[in-house]
Amino acid sequence: MSPAVKITRRDFCASGGALIVSFSIGVPRPTRAEAARLPGSLSKAPYLDAWIRIDAAGAVTVFTGKAELGQGIKTAIIQIAAEELEVEPASIHLVTADTALTVNEGYTAGSHSLQDSGTAIRNAAAQVRELLIGAAAARWQVDASQLRARQGAVMASGGRSLGYAELVAKEFLHVQAQPQSKLKATQDFQSMGRSMQRVDIPAKVTGGAAYVQDMKQPGMVHARVVRPPSPAAVLTGLDSSQVEAMPGVIKIVRDGNFLAVVAKGEFQAVQAMRKLTAAAQWSEHASLPPQDDLPAFLLALPAEVAVVIDQGSGPASAAPEPDSRTLEATFTRAYQCHASMGPSCAVALLQGDSLTVWNHSQGVFPNRAALAELLDMPVEKIHAIHTEGSGCYGHNGADDVVADAVLIARTLPGVPVRVQWMREQEHMWEPFGPAMVTKVRATLDVQGRVADWRYELWSNPHGSRPGPAAALLPARLLARPFVPNPARVRISPEGSGDRNSVPLYAFPGKHVQWHFLKDMPIRVSALRSLGAYMNVFSIESFMDELAQAAAEDAVAFRLKHLQDPRARDVVELAAKKFNWAGKMPPRHGKGFAFARYKNLASYCAIACEVSVEFETGTIRMVRAVAAIDSGEIVNPDGIRNQTEGGILQSMSWTLYEAVKFDDTRITSTDWSTYPILRFASVPDSVDVHLIPRPGQPFLGAGEAAQGPAAAALANALANALGKRLRDIPFSRERVRAALFS
């Protein structure tokens, strides 16, 4: 709090309103432009009590518009609030994304939660602490600088103390935040910077009701949807009489190609769904691209070319210097699934003209807006409450299943309706991570430095989230379907399909273009890290090719082109902890990769060792070592857990995963037709080393490993085989083909 602010005892003893007035006098109310400069999401909601409330009993409630997705955000937010408020973490009650209670912080996505919400809550908590100190100073008629907050109380020398409960009055925190906060220094941290056990894990390992899937409400009924057999199928006939006669069946809901059944019992709903599936007749149409010729298909789609960067050196046609060498390569990636372990689930209840939905959407506010459009309801009549689901890793079926639930619940007023998708529905109907093609061409000068870098990527947009109702799958199935607007290309600092398409390396010439494919032959959306996974895989694979051409060590070659000291630090640490100079056993290879996520979030370098069974083409990552710099660290073990998970998930994507389809149907329908990592292929060790950056901003760590892990694996494989794979996934067939080519 600014020392210019004086709170008199009279002000404090008067009503809360008077207190606000005194602040309004002491400190000018921030203008809208000033509010925009408030730290993190405080710019969206500048009143402190939007984030923190302390009741008359001293109980602290913290509100975040972000949601727990299994990434540990609840725990980190509690650590942050406890630190700056000077209270025990266990004493904090945390409320997460809820349209009636929290600030609208948009999506919990893009590794933004600590940057946006963590920063807001940290600053709000620090300002609340200083307000409490100020109030105590006024009460005791002493200077605030003589006081400090500790353990939920303001203390003065001589043992005097006032608990927060004694200092708060109604509206006490209904005060606008200031741009500057008196943040605690890293060396004074009690809670931040230390590994704290996740607050959500005990319930998850003891059978607590931890997920929306576990929600039970009085009178709740169970619904299942029947999806079309293929994306372009049309429902042509349905005799549902037998299904209606089944035990427990309450009703069938049909609207165009949208079909669902409701029953009293969950398994009754499943049985009815199966029978209804058999009873439905569909006319199917071929609408899918050719699986076997996907890269050529993508390259031939109409594209809008957007320039991501065009920096330095002359046109591509300029004659290269003598003795320089130009290399080029093409990389591809298949469509890939989020493939959450738990199929998407939601509960909806229509009461009068009000609707309540419990769901695991990453954005309960934007999803609510889509539901309002879908149902033609005022948005304020919908209360959306985030309730945890299975990990999503981006835009999976979470938003769609809420639409299913409300379309059914609106036909059953007063009855809570729970819908859970079946496995095949999750696999076939989630929006996939887009297939991509990238082409890179680079010129090495005589000193073995990259002089010019040209990179093009072909991709659909990576964000098809609600917003609009048409983003919701069920809305597209209705008799009067919502039709999505054509996607528009937008180049932003964070990027989408073009995320991380600009190398962080200091190349004199950098030219990057996104061939933006707005036609979506298969529905796609955000998969953890968006384009960064493919772009970093391409860039970092090619860096190894260039290093080899320059006859340089892969790590040394990267360092030669890296100026950012924090980037150099993670590269050097990962190399050292891996023992990069060490020799590999036969049929083993080592690989290295680096990226700064979005070129503005966490720095992450990964070294890994793979072994290859030449006879079968089976690859195994033997060990991985990562170094990550996420700025100021809140929960070290949380960052480690996310990074370990990112490495293993990316390894699974890279080695095994491709959505299969024929010209009409998605044929990856379960775990046998869409295999992922199993324990037999898990590495012997994965070590994550953190570089603390005291006093630096939070950078967001949840997605930093996806790209580097894929590229490190590709580079290790090239090292082991002497042949490079440039097409994801590195199936055994592709490995064998490379070996015997």
């Binding site: 894990i201 005990p202 998850k204 931890a210 039970k216 019992g265 372990m341 299975s390 857990n641 898990v682």
Partner: protein, 158 residues
């Protein structure tokens, strides 16, 4: 059909279609949340429970087979107030991200530890092979099972 089920040492009388997979009865009739619906196909292990000492996919096991069998779920391993060795080890090693698969992992591990009190790393990997995790928590799950074996031995000697 009415059937008696022994779950975590308690007898329950359940009335349901005999084909009903055990998973639905556990979750909806008995209010036991731990076992999860993941695939309904016996492919992922989120629904794993232990029946007479064997790890079983409860999503594909009809209740008509279960009269007189001893069924154990995560709720039978301890409680949030008094967690058992597997629960303690998973908390200690923070062996969860979203956690949806974890109850199934714990039951698969429980079946292993009941048979083999000191499993090797290879034993643990082999036993967990049927279960999938999407968050990539595998390293911690392996470590937590190893740690649970130690905790069980400490308790046994006490």
């Amino acid at each position: 059909m009415s059937i008696r089920l022994n779950v975590n040492g308690h007898e329950h009388q359940v009335t349901a279609d005999p084909q009903t997979p055990l998973l639905y009865v556990l979750r909806n009739d008995l209010g036991l949340n731990a076992a999860k619906f993941g695939c309904g196909l016996g492919q992922c292990g989120s629904c794993t429970v232990v029946i007479d000492g064997e790890a079983v996919f409860s999503c594909v096991t009809p209740i008509m087979l279960l009269q007189g069998r001893r069924i154990t779920t995560v709720e039978g391993l301890g409680s949030i107030e008094s967690p058992g060795p597997l629960q303690r080890s998973f908390i200690e090693l923070q062996a969860a991200q979203c956690g949806y698969c974890i109850a199934g992992m714990m039951m698969r591990a429980y079946a292993l530890l009941e048979k083999n009190a000191s499993p090797t790393d290879a034993d643990i990997r082999r036993s967990l092979e049927p279960n999938l995790c999407r968050c990539g928590t595998h390293m911690r799950i392996l470590a937590a099972v190893k740690r649970a074996a130690e905790l069980r031995q400490v308790s046994a000697f006490r």
